[in-house]
Amino acid sequence: MAFSESFFASRFGITTGNLESYLGDALREGGDYADLYFEYLSTSQISIDESIVKSATEGVSLGVGVRVIAGERTGYAYSDDLSPEKIRKAARVAACIAAGPSKVDKTSLEEGQKRNLYPVFTAPHETEFAERVDLVKRADAAARACDPRIFQVQATYADSLRQVMIATSAGILSFDRQPLARLSVAALAKQNGGPPQRGYAGGGGRVELSFFLEEKTPEHFAREAARQAIVQLDAVDAPAGETTIVLGPGWPGVLLHEAVGHGLEADFNRKKVSAFSDRIGQQVASPLCTVIDDGTIRNRRGSLNVDDEGNPTQRNVLIENGILRGYLQDQLSSRILHEAPTGNGRRESYEHIPMPRMTNTFMLAGESDPEDIIRSVPKGIYCVNFGGGQVDITSGNFVFSASESYLIENGKLTRPVRSATLIGNGPEALRYVSMVGNDLQLDEGIGICGKEGQSVPVGVGIPTIKIDRMTVGGTA
């Protein structure tokens, strides 16, 4: 697509001449770099509760963020009005950070290389509401039909279509159309007057609506949520203290996100406040571990054609056979560290300053048969589903909460255990990985990552792995 046919050019009449002029305004007090991020976001959300479709919302927000970088300093301003006066005003505010002559050679904008990792002809957001409301109704009915012990079901379908355009003083001009959709189901079960238990499942991606009709149906997520709630009805207290952990494939990859991913973001490392600072080339995991962050996987929730600074996303090797290889870069950190950008500069919206962020983070498959992994454990727990996690990047300590786990006794799965937090230390935890399965799976597409108040969609993945030692926060 040519620039003249792009969303912002055709709808708002913005020309490359306008963009070059705004960038000139941003740099008029000096500075090394400036960029503009235009965003037009349309969202919709439909929820069912007690078999009643109780809410349906849609809306739009638009704006532009202007950034100026001078050395290690950043000036930022934004406007929710795309009139030239308002954009110039934001550019003047952002320019206040800089002083002295600008060090930017005047470059004319050139369109970046185009590819499409999510060739979605009709975004879910552009389909009829009647089709989308049907998804939550089907999810509700399917979860209730699973088992008479299910007594509450909530399902939410949400989608968005984000149009972005990024212009930089380095001459990059990128535009992208980013569809995203997800369906989630929460179910509560009870039996014999005991306490209720909950289950939760969901998924989606940068997909067409047909994904929910053909690949991962409402019934799929509903059955999964109901199954998890029912399993918990018979759960026993989780153990407390150090034990052997086996993680199942897919969503448990959130371990990588917390244990190593955040600690490898370049902002923390150039400031030397990460437990992984100055450790490139060192052994930080068992040689069985190779960890990748890849923003280029087709239709995935964490994928982007270009990051929010206009750089193409790519496949980045973070840890190779246990050796730390690289950090996740954004524009600012890569300039300061004289490293190439890695396509990880992301932001929540035009109101936010970009930061290095993950995309889809996963561990490559190994050679072990997953069943052999479980058979090899005399005593431990097998975790297959997780809630959220969190990390203190400075000490390296991280947690993630296991919402569905089973005791392993003499190589066999015995009883389900109640939810419990697992805790470890980033640069230590993966040294205890002693087996890696041949069954790499990516999650179903529901992850949200928060950092410094900004949320972005991400993906994770992992094969079945065995960790010889980790602390479980149970009570037994």
């Binding site: 009643i52 934004y78 007594f151 937090t421 149970g474």
Partner: protein, 450 residues
Amino acid sequence: MNGNHLAELAVETVKQALERGATDAECTISEGSEFSANVRMREVESLKQAGSRATGLRILVGQHTGSAYTSDLSPEGIGRMVGSAIGLASITTADPHAGLPDAAELGAIAEELQLYCPDVETLETSFKIELARKAEAAALEADPRITNSEGASFDSHVGRRIFANSRGFVGEYNSSYCSLTAVPVAREGGSMERDYWMSLSRGFAGLESPDHIGRVAADRAVRRLGARKVETQRVPVVFEPRTARSLLGSIFEAVHGETIYRNASFLAGKLGQKVATENLTVIDDGTIPGFFGTTPFDDEGVPTRRTAIIEHGVLKNYLLNTYTARKLGMKTTGNASRGLSGNAGIGHGSLFIERGACSPAEIIAAISNGLYVTELIGSGVNVVTGDYSRGAVGLWIRNGELAFPVSEVTIAGNLNNMLMDMEAIGSDLEFRGSTAAPTVLIREMTVGGK
């Protein structure tokens, strides 16, 4: 932030919705401007300044709900939003409990609530940068082991919120806040730790001094150095005020009208029952002048009020909006909360644990072996069952004294028992945000470690 006609716009939007087929409507408009200055290693790292506004509409057509929002406040943008919301009512299901508050319940607190301090808008940028610079410098100079920093920041926000509905309510209020935060990093040998301290106020005059903020943050980071993991054991656990506040977050979720009517809370169905130790009283109050939980009316146009949640251990009230109150056959407690659009959810005002009799030092002195928790990480609280399991950082208590730092451990229990086992409540209640708690002691929890 002045002299504009947003209240009229909200009223006009409601009127337009009724003209186009809605039987009821409620419109929210929010306007705000933010400022943020970050200083790191004594240099300005970032400056951000901008403002924005947006509006949201929720309508009913009979008992069908629809809602929409937009950042385009032009007549065309408002017209599209109204059309969207009305169109969406055709895909929702009739809900017998949906509707606006009764007219008799609408209203606003008339007294001046001191939510806005003009000085937040008039401070010079250079002065605000200097505050952050001083706070960071105080941290860097507090101890030779403070070798690095994630910086210090001055942040402020001024906002205006307008709400109008088709039952005749229209109200608006301005609010402001500013905060000063320092995040130093301490290092000794192979141990690296960070911590923070923050002061938050409606106006500049209420902020703690940059020196104090920097020094407290530095002390907190330094005392974590050399933290170790302890053996797994059951011991008394003391939550300092900053971590005790998170227990209020769990109590809030457990008395939230939506979790109650879904029977998804460990406190559901226990109104009037003893659910906690006699010592514990938990209050929600949206009316205290100047406080962070205060507003003249909630997000449905109902006046805020003081609600006792737990009184001397007995569960007295849930926190409700109009919808959840109708579901439960009760009255709204003026706790409706929402962003811009959609059905109202539930929020809290100033939510706090009433102060007890003991000083924190007395509480610690009575413990021979236990954990003093200074930071919690992770989201391991299940309010359906009350199961509680989180990552913890703190100091080990030995023979009544804080002995050595501890990290990479978990604390676990069940909130049903934790509330009953709250053996001591401190006298050190301070309001540093919209939730506030003094030091609390829980008789026994499982510490997971080696």
